[in-house]
């Protein structure tokens, strides 16, 4: 029997009007994962970002999951806090947390990966940093490196492939 190939499809986002008339916009590749913690699950759309060293979850994408579990995430000082540059114009503080990440292949069969991800501290509600809270969660190279990442704009196709 030959190797089993499992394909996990993603999709492209819509193109927003470009920020400047001389710039063109290109749709961003996305993939949706189920984040697991305790007995809770939350489906989260990630932007695939091969420039990100590791996967970063925006707090607001999973906060409801922790609230349902009767917990919240602390961003106080501790050995599991790190600083990440490249999210907005300033560095962001992130808590490293082990979580389950579940993907579904094109046949509907789940694959769950347990690994550490960075959870970005949300900007204060009264923040002067504009709309940093709107940034999406990022699927970085730590997870991408487990798969073959297929990205094509013509024809449009986004997927992760696992060769068992």
């Amino acid at each position: 029997m030959g190797p089993v190939v499992r394909r996990f499809p993603g999709h492209f986002g819509q193109v927003a009007r470009p920020a400047h008339r001389s710039l063109s916009s290109t749709p961003a590749p996305r993939i949706t994962l189920t984040v697991l913690f305790g007995g809770q699950a939350k489906r989260v759309p990630f932007m695939i970002d091969s420039g990100a060293d590791f996967t970063i979850l925006q707090y607001h994408d999973i906060a409801s999951m922790f609230r349902l579990e009767g917990r919240d995430i602390s961003f106080g000082r501790g050995p599991d806090m790190i600083s990440v540059s490249g999210i907005g114009h300033a560095s962001a503080r992130c808590r490293i947390q082990q979580l389950g990440l579940r993907l579904r292949d094109s046949a509907g069969t789940p694959l769950t990966i347990t690994q550490s991800v960075a959870i970005a501290e949300p900007p204060p509600t009264s923040s002067t940093q504009g709309s940093l809270w709107k940034l999406p969660s990022l699927l970085g190279r730590d997870l991408l490196s487990r798969f073959d990442f297929n990205l094509s704009y013509d024809p449009p196709a986004v997927s992760l492939t696992l060769n068992d």
Binding site: H11, G13, Q14, A16, R17, P18, A19, L23, A28, T32, T34, L36, F37, G38, G39, Q40, A41, K42, R43, V44, P45, M47, D49, H60, D61, A63, S64, M65, F66, R67, L68, R71, I73, S74, F75, G76, R77, G78, D80, G86, I87, R95, Q97, Q98, L99, G100, R102, R104, P110, T112, T114, P122, T125, G130, S131, W133, K134, L135, P136, L138
Partner: protein, 101 residues
């Protein structure tokens, strides 16, 4: 004062076919896929209409725009557990803003 005692435990409990929550997580995934399918089909319209807000898609195609993360959290936690967990929310760069991630 925040201490390390407030941090989350590192021994997460995974949901597998043997755990009681498995059927519920399966239901969440299926419902979330309906929400995602709806969103993909309608994203262009939703973006035009709600570009400066957060759009929550739930129940396979119901839309709740929210002005802030706090407002979204209040809305999500007002839903039943499976609807809350399967709801998906989306944002876009504001007009004149680009994301370089």
């Amino acid at each position: 004062m925040v201490t390390d005692e407030d941090t989350l435990p590192f021994d997460i409990r995974m949901v597998t076919p043997g755990t009681p929550e498995y059927a519920e997580v399966e239901a969440i995934d299926l419902e979330a896929q309906r929400n995602l399918d709806y969103f993909i089909e309608h994203e262009a319209v939703l973006m035009e209409q709600y570009r400066d807000q957060i759009v929550v898609v739930y129940n396979g195609g119901k839309i709740q725009p929210c002005a802030s993360p706090d407002e979204m959290m209040d809305f999500l936690l007002s839903l039943d557990r499976i609807t809350c967990s399967s709801a998906m929310h989306f944002t876009w760069p504001e007009e004149g803003t680009a994301w370089a991630l």
